[in-house]
Symmetry: C2
Subunit: 377 residues, 2 copies
C-alpha cells in the first residue's frame, strides 16, 4: 500500500542496522515526518497539524516499531510495519510519553540514538522528551551523528525515479508560464496560477513556491508574492518544490517580459555556464566544497550556498559551500543553484536538479532554455 515494494524498506532497514552496528547503537528513535516515512512508507499530509507527536523505533534487529496516535493506526497498518502501538492522542499529561518509554525499555537498549544535529528538529515537546529520558534512565538518548541523514542521502533508483518524475511535472508547468504571466499580470496571480499549472500537470501538492520579478533581477528569493503587476523588461523567476508521491523537485526557471536588459541576458548566460561547471565537477569522489568552487569561479555570487541535497524534503543533506567537505557518492541527488549580482540591480538565480552516478552528474530537471524565454509584453 505504499509506492515502493517491501524490498525497498527491507534494504533501508538493513543499511540502517548495519550502520547502527558499526556505531554501537542498539536503537534509533525517530520523530520527524521524513525519517518516519523513510522506514515505513507512511505518507500523509496530516503532519501539517502540530498537535500530535509520532514515534518510530528502529531496533538493532527486527522490524521498526511504530508508537503513534490512534488516528494514524489504520493508515500505518497498510504499510509493512507489523508492530503498531497507539494512544488516543491528544492525551493531556501523557501524550505518548509512557507508551514510548515502555517500548524503549522493552527493546532493552543501552544506547539509543536520535537525529539531533544539523538540519534536524525535535518534533515533540521538549518537556516530553525530558520525561521520556527520565522514564528510561539509566538508558540514554544520544546524538546519531548524522547516521540517518547519511542513509537518506544515498537514494535508491526508485527514489531517483520519483524525483525525476517530479522534475518533469514542474517542467511541463514551466513550459506553460506564457499562459498565465505577461505584462500587467500581478505577481500574486502568477504565483497562484503557477501552482494551478503544477497540479494540472500532475503534482500531488505544491508545498513550496517562491520567486521574484524586477527589471534588473530581484531582491531576494524567499519573499511571498506582492500584487505588483509585471512590467515590460521584468525578469520573472519561479522556484518550486512540488511533490510527487512524497518526493520533491526543487528548481527554478527565469523568464523575461518582452526583451531582457543586456545585463540580465548576460547574467543568465553566466548562470548557465556556472551550472555546467558545477555539473562537470559533481562526480563521485568530489566534495561539496569543490562543486561550490567550480561554480563560484564563474559566478562570484555573494555569501550563501550554491545548492544542496534534495529528496523527501525540499532541502536535505549537504550544502554547496566552501566549508562542506561531504564527498559525493552515486545515488546522491543535489541541486546546483548559482546566483549572480546584476550591476545596479538585484540578483539572478538559476537552479537545476541532478543525480550523482558512477560517470558523473545526470540532470533530472529538463534542459533549461539557452536564452531567457520571453513572456507577452
Amino acid at each position: 500500500m505504499t509506492v515502493f515494494p517491501e524490498a525497498e524498506f527491507e534494504n533501508r532497514l538493513a543499511r540502517a542496522q548495519a550502520a547502527m552496528g558499526k556505531a554501537g547503537f542498539d536503537a534509533l528513535l525517530l520523530t520527524s515526518e521524513a525519517d518516519v516515512r523513510y522506514f515505513t512508507g507512511y505518507l500523509t499530509r496530516f503532519w501539517e497539524s502540530p498537535s500530535r507527536p509520532w514515534f518510530l523505533v528502529i531496533p538493532a534487529s527486527g522490524k521498526p516499531v511504530a508508537v503513534i496516535p490512534a488516528i494514524g493506526g489504520a493508515l500505518m497498518a497498510k504499510t509493512w510495519i507489523d508492530d503498531i502501538r497507539t494512544w488516543p492522542a491528544p492525551t493531556p499529561g501523557d501524550d505518548g510519553v509512557t507508551l514510548l518509554a515502555e517500548c524503549l525499555r522493552e527493546i532493552g537498549t543501552e544506547r539509543i540514538a536520535m537525529p539531533m544535529g544539523y538540519e534536524t528538529q525535535l518534533r515533540m515537546p521538549l518537556q516530553d522528551f525530558h520525561r521520556v529520558q527520565d522514564l528510561i534512565a539509566p538508558m540514554r538518548i544520544d546524538a546519531d551523528g548524522g547516521l540517518v541523514a547519511l542513509l537518506r542521502a544515498i537514494k535508491s533508483q526508485a527514489e531517483v525515479a520519483l524525483i525525476e518524475t517530479a522534475c518533469g511535472i514542474a517542467g511541463r508547468a514551466f513550459d506553460r508560464v506564457g499562459e498565465i504571466a505577461g505584462r500587467g499580470t500581478p505577481l500574486s496571480d502568477v504565483f497562484r496560477n503557477f501552482q494551478r499549472l503544477c497540479l494540472e500537470e500532475g503534482a500531488d501538492w505544491v508545498p513550496y513556491l517562491a520567486g521574484g520579478a524586477g527589471s534588473l533581477g530581484y531582491d531576494d528569493v524567499i519573499s511571498p508574492a506582492t500584487p505588483r503587476p509585471l512590467q515590460s523588461g521584468d525578469v520573472l523567476m519561479l522556484d518550486t518544490g512540488l511533490v510527487h508521491q512524497g518526493y520533491f523537485c526543487d528548481y527554478d526557471r527565469n523568464f523575461v517580459v518582452g526583451r531582457p536588459d543586456p545585463a540580465v541576458a548576460a547574467g543568465y548566460q553566466r548562470l548557465r555556464e556556472a551550472t555546467q561547471a558545477g555539473q562537470e565537477a559533481a562526480r563521485p569522489g568530489a566534495t561539496a566544497a569543490e562543486v561550490y568552487q567550480a561554480m563560484q569561479n564563474i559566478c562570484q555570487a555573494g555569501p550563501g550556498r550554491l545548492g544542496h541535497g534534495l529528496g523527501m524534503q525540499l532541502t536535505e543533506g549537504l550544502s554547496l559551500i566552501a566549508e562542506d567537505h561531504t564527498v559525493l557518492e552515486p545515488g546522491m541527488v543535489i541541486t546546483l543553484e548559482p546566483g549572480v549580482d546584476i550591476p545596479g540591480g538585484g540578483i539572478l538565480v538559476h537552479e537545476d536538479d541532478f543525480v550523482i552516478e558512477e560517470n558523473g552528474a545526470r540532470q533530472l530537471s529538463p534542459t533549461a532554455p539557452s536564452n531567457l524565454p520571453e513572456l507577452p509584453a
Copy 2:
C-alpha cells in the same frame, strides 16, 4: 509591509510582556514559524526548508530582536523589527549558536522562557540548543507554561477577518466540487483538482487536503488519495486547510455520488445536530470539555477529539475532548468536528469553523447544506 498595521504587533508585544511580567520571565525565545511570525509578521514559505534555524527574542521591554539566517534579512527588514542580526547560514559548526547566545547575554536575562509543552516543537537541532544553554549558563531556558500559545489563542478582529476570508475561499471551492467530481472520477484527480479550485478562488496556497470516499462512509480522515474511481452511492469528504495571508481555514464538506444510503443520510443529519449543539455550548465561560460533551451526547463517536483551535496553524490550542478544561474566551477560533460511525461501514465526519464572541459562537465557514449535495452519478 505586512498584512497588519504596526499597532497589531504593538498590541501582541504588550500582551506578551504583561504576561511575561506576571510569570516572572525576562525574555522569551521563539524558534517556530508561527511564533516568529506572530510577533514580526515575517511571512515566507521558506520554512519548508529544514536547513536553517530562525530565532526571535522577546525582551521584558522593548521590541523583539531577530537572530536569523542572512538569506532572510531583506524580508525581515520589511517588517516592524529594527534589530536584525544575521549569520551566513548554513555555517557548519556554529549555525547561529554563538550569535543567539550573545544576544541573550546582552539582554542580560535571568529567566528565559521557551514554548516546550503541548503541541510545541524545537525547531532547531537539539545539540545546538544544548550548546546555547551551555554558553549562557548560569542563565537557563525554562518552559513558558503555555504563555505564547494562550496569547495566540485569543485572536484580534483583524486575525478573525483573515480566517473568515480563508473560509469563504474554501466555501467557493466546495460550491464547485460538482465540476470536478462524479461517478468514475479517480479520487486522486478529485484531490488534485480541488486544490486547483481553491487556488482559483483565491487561496495563497493549500497546505492541507485530506478526505475519503466510500458507500457507507470512509475508513479514516488522514489518508492520501488513491486512484480508486468514485462509485454511484459513494459519500465523498474533502477537508481542507488552505491559507489566506498566513491564516488557515480548516473545515470539510461531504457530498454523495447520486443518492446516499439512508444510513449515510441519517448520519449526516446527526452530524448537523451535533454541530448545532456544539455551537450552542461554545459560549464564553464554557470549557472545551463541555462543548465536547454537548456534541458527544448526540453523535457518540469513538475516541478522538471533536474539534480544536485554529489560526496561524491548521490546528492549535485547545482540543474538544473530555479532559481539556480550557475556558472559552471571546476571540478564540475553534473548529467543531463531530463524527459518527455508519453501521456496517466506516465513519462520517463534519467540520465547521467558529469564533467565540461575547454572545456566543459565530460561524466563520459558510452555512453547510441541509442535505448532502449530490454529484453526477
